[in-house]
Amino acid sequence: MQDFGAAFGLAFHLIATGNDNLVEIVLLSLKVSFSALTLSCLIGLPLGAFLVVRPFWGRGVVVAVLNAMMGLPPVVIGLLVYLSLSRAGPMGWLGLLYTPTAMIIAQTLLIAPIVAALARQVLEGLYTEYDEQFRSFGISRLRAAAALIVDGRYGLVTVALAGFGRAVAEVGAVIIVGGNIDHLTRVMTTAIALETSKGDLGMALALGIILMSIALGVNLAAGGLRAMAERQAYA
């Protein structure tokens, strides 16, 4: 068992020398979470905008369900995806279980509701301001939704970063559907869990430091964007 100081020393050594294993895990993590984020934005931003510009019967219920889905436990999502992708499941024939694709699907299900719900909140505020002007222009709801996304872009980047942060830090779903297979589906969070239980604290800590730096970087980027938007009076 290494002591705390030695673990830190090893962690910095691994990072500084660009350990192959470490780099591979970090890159896969980023690839999976960015893919999930891209899909979530493609689904969540139009959905959020649509919920704002299009009143329909039962919209309140849809919004409530969406807000509740923001708090879904990742393991439950992992379990549901596992059941659909496992050999006996409805989509078992795709053979996706224990692949990065399965992890992307699980993370997308996890953060798409978050992106949609937060986007709806951001765009709703904008829409109360634009609503009458848009109706005066006589623009279609589709165009109104698109314009909201464009004009709310800075707020939405913050939304996307929140979704990314949640995806990249999540462990429950990816470990169930990915299986934490070395060189294939091992990402930062699952590797940290494994290395810690194996007692390889240096590797675990190195990954932990990188994960925290990513979270910090994401938040700094969000703050920087917000400041820039405010300077340009776009916020």
Partner: protein
């Protein structure tokens, strides 16, 4: 809020007015009544929280020229403008433009400049481009029209700047440029020159006059009595949601007949 005002019954025939005849403009001829700028309002009422905010029994505006709408703060001028543009649905009543019921079709030929300009979070040019694109103009036509409109309100040097960094008066000028860009048949202005410097006020008034001369019906809310005198063909004076007086400008400024309009022009507050 309903998208449009859908009449449930045919418009009632214009009834002879109860007020003294001199306080009313002569009814427009049948030919004028069919023009898109001819507003007709019958039995219009808007209630909110147990208050009747707008209550206009009958009003017919001439199809062309400039109608100035005046009245104290809270008289219901802005609500009236939004009602006739079809942005809010009345509690009762009938509104038509050139005998077409007020709705999306009439709104498409009109432009409203709001009391507080609502500018998109984009560049000045992109704000004008947005409405033109929604009207389906080609890219080349949009670019040309955009440059033309910005030059007309003296904002051509600001085309690339974020619209929300413009000064208050510049924002109003942009809102006007954007409204005129679609070449509306009816131009609705809610205190569109309220925060402009004197030279800009005159420049805007010239643009408005030009538009009116080119056939656009202008309905203009103002608190600036001098401006009303300069622009008005007729004046509609609102007091507590009612049309206290609607007369040709010359007569109105010679001596208003309603106590409320007289008080307003003299600078007294009548409650």
């Amino acid at each position: 809020m309903p998208e449009s005002l859908r009449p449930r019954s045919a418009p009632p025939a214009a009834e002879p007015s109860a007020a003294p005849p001199a306080a009313r403009l002569p009814e427009p001829s049948p030919r004028d009544r069919a023009r898109p700028g001819a507003l007709r309002v019958e039995g219009l009422a808007l209630d909110a929280q147990g208050r009747r905010l707008v209550d206009i029994d009958h009003l017919a505006l001439p199809a062309g020229g400039v109608t100035m709408v005046m009245g104290q703060n809270g008289a219901g001028k802005s609500l009236f403008l939004r009602l006739i543009h079809g942005l809010i649905a009345p509690s009762h009543g009938w509104i038509s433009w050139g005998e077409v019921p007020c709705g999306p079709a009439t709104r498409a030929t009109q432009a409203l400049v709001f009391q507080k300009p609502v500018l998109l979070r984009r560049s000045v040019a992109a704000n004008v481009d947005f409405v033109l694109k929604a009207r389906g103009l080609s890219r080349a036509a949009r670019r040309e029209r955009c440059a033309e409109m910005l030059a007309r309100v003296g904002l051509e040097a600001h085309a690339r700047q974020p619209a929300r960094l413009l000064s208050g008066g510049e924002q109003q000028r942009l809102a006007l440029a954007r409204a005129l860009a679609i070449r509306p048949q009816v131009l609705l202005l809610d205190e569109a020159t309220a925060s402009l410097d004197p030279a800009s006020v005159l420049a805007i008034e010239r643009i408005v006059t030009e538009a009116a001369e080119a056939g656009t019906k202008v309905i203009f809310i103002t608190h600036d009595i001098g401006q009303a005198r300069r622009l008005a063909d007729d004046v509609a004076f609102l007091h507590r949601g009612r049309i206290a007086e609607h007369r040709p400008a010359a007569q109105f400024f010679l001596g208003p007949q309603s106590e409320s309009a007289l008080a307003y022009l003299e600078g007294r507050i009548l409650l």
